[in-house]
């Protein structure tokens, strides 16, 4: 219990420091966040056009369903990149030897390295999800409840996927391509209706690339709540995160320092 409290305290501390750092350049921070939100907003335009042309459902989803999965995916991505932005840099840290810094500190290595950086534009992703939910789901408290749950679960799962992919660097030497592809896969599977995919891809979305657990199952729960499905959601997410965590530490055993001297500022 003490260990988990320490981890949460570390995340909280890094969050405050990174936010304070971002606020030093307020204009830049707001411009990046706003730009990202605006960028995400263009997809609303696409879906509005698509539903206008079709006049029915696409992949089993209506316009509000698509807005839910977009809002959940966007905010989950935002949360993971605000808190754990270094998930995208794990390969670089391993290859350049910058991992040494984190090995020498008396904190959980993985959590320490994940939290050490934040992404300013991710605040735009986070805010965008809330704005989209407010515009499309208004006072639907069931939808809001599942949206908030999916942000937490989605943020953790996206981080876990990225960590797992980049961990292959310990085995392959450079897994930046695998890491990039994994994140791209999960984003692309999250932002489109589940029903457009068939067969093997659907299996993939329920296993290796858990996009269904990030947005599609929360949407099902938002439309028709089922306690067992909710428990399944929590359980599978916890197992996935645990496996990613253990996989990283197993890979870490193969790490050899390059004796690089670096300064963390």
């Amino acid at each position: 219990m003490k260990r988990y409290k320490g981890i949460f305290r570390l995340i909280g501390l890094y969050f405050r420091v990174n936010l304070a750092s971002a606020m030093e350049y307020r204009g830049s921070f707001l411009l990046q966040a706003f730009g990202m939100a605006l960028s995400n907003g263009t997809f609303v335009f696409f879906w509005w056009i698509a539903f206008q042309q079709i006049g029915g459902r696409i992949g089993g989803y209506d316009f509000n369903d698509v807005m839910f999965i977009w809002a959940a995916a966007s905010s989950a991505f935002g949360v993971s990149n605000i808190l754990f932005a270094n998930m995208n840099a794990i390969t670089r840290l391993i290859v350049t030897g910058e991992l040494d810094t984190f090995l020498l500190q008396p904190k959980d290595v993985l959590m320490n390295l994940l939290c050490a950086r934040t992404s300013l534009s991710a605040w735009g992703d986070l805010a965008y999800g809330f704005v989209l939910m407010a515009l499309t789901h208004g006072g639907d408290w069931q939808a809001w409840g599942m949206f908030l749950i999916s942000i937490v679960i989605g943020g953790l799962l996206m981080t876990a996927v990225s960590v797992s992919a980049h961990t292959f660097t310990f085995y392959l030497g450079d897994a930046s391509l695998i890491g990039g592809m994994a994140l791209e896969f999960i984003i692309n599977f999250c932002i489109y209706p589940e029903g457009i995919y068939r067969g093997f891809v659907r299996v993939l979305m329920l296993s290796v690339i858990p996009a269904s657990f990030i947005v599609h199952i929360p949407l099902k729960l938002a439309r028709s709540f089922n306690i067992w499905m909710l428990l399944l959601l929590f359980g599978v997410s916890a197992i996935y995160c645990f496996i990613a965590y253990r996989f990283f530490y197993r890979g870490l055993k193969r790490y050899e320092s390059g004796n690089l001297i670096i300064t963390r500022m």
Partner: protein
């Protein structure tokens, strides 16, 4: 003549570089395949066997293969390069070299774009044929004109991105401009054909440069006609020339304010 030889050498070196480091495109090809796969699934669900706004599913898939080829496959890193050069100050080292910075960047990028056009173009054809088969009614005689339009789209895209990148001379943070431009190209032709747009927006889009980056060559590829080529190609050339002059003006305006410090 000297200038042609000079920039021709830059282009040749850039092409050689692209061929030597050809494995760098593997990642791009994988991403390209993923995008086309996702879009194919999406549009198959949207179409459900019918036609939308004058496009069949086959035409739509090929349309996306071409637009992704032009915008994603043949992209250059000029925006990031401009930012890096200006913010790091390394642009100052290039000012006293015997070439014009804008032309140098263009011909350096052109080598990579030509190589990518060959590689990603082949992938586009393979994916299109596997997913939906050949374009109905496509004639090989139209291919050179589609290619010319595609290259003009790439040139237009390059100079707009260069102009946006050169805003780094005056702005601390200019990434938002890139995002907005990227999404305008995305929504006005790359992901949605102009024909899908509401009438009022379609008319506006025809007067803006964004749809001439991707929509023009893709539309020519899936439904070529001489009338369409005569309608869109001159507009592409016009916008490319305007974008070139804007990039030149941004460069001159930016360079005039450079202060170099020793050290």
């Amino acid at each position: 003549m000297k200038a042609i030889r000079k920039y021709g050498t830059v282009l040749k070196l850039s092409l050689q570089n692209a061929f030597v480091y050809r494995s760098n495109v593997i990642g791009g090809l994988l991403f390209y395949t993923l995008f086309i796969f996702v879009f194919f699934n999406l549009w198959r669900a949207i179409y459900q066997g019918g036609r939308v706004a004058g496009y069949s599913l086959t035409q739509m898939v090929w349309y996306l293969c071409i637009t992704e080829l032009v915008v994603f496959g043949c992209r250059s890193g000029v925006f990031g390069q401009m930012n890096e050069d200006v913010k790091s100050g390394s642009i100052a080292y290039q000012l006293n070299r015997p070439y014009h910075y804008v032309f140098y960047q263009f011909f350096t990028a052109l080598g990579g774009m030509v190589f990518n056009l060959l590689v990603f173009g082949t992938m586009a054809i393979v994916l299109g044929m596997i997913m939906v088969g050949p374009i109905p009614g496509f004639r090989l005689q139209s291919l050179p004109f589609v290619l010319i339009s595609g290259i003009m789209g790439m040139v237009l895209n390059f100079f707009i991105l260069m102009a946006l990148g050169l805003t780094a001379f005056r702005m601390e943070e200019n990434f938002a401009f890139y995002l907005i431009y990227q999404k305008l190209v995305f929504m006005l032709g790359m992901f949605i054909p102009v024909e899908f747009l509401p009438g009022w927006l379609r008319d506006i889009a025809r007067f803006l440069p964004f749809s001439y980056v991707a929509w023009a060559p893709a539309r020519l590829a899936v439904a070529f006609s001489w009338e369409l080529f005569i309608e869109v190609f001159p507009v592409q050339v016009l916008w490319a020339v305007i974008a070139f002059f804007i990039a030149m003006a941004m460069y001159r305006f930016g360079v005039s304010g450079i202060q170099a410090h020793g050290g």
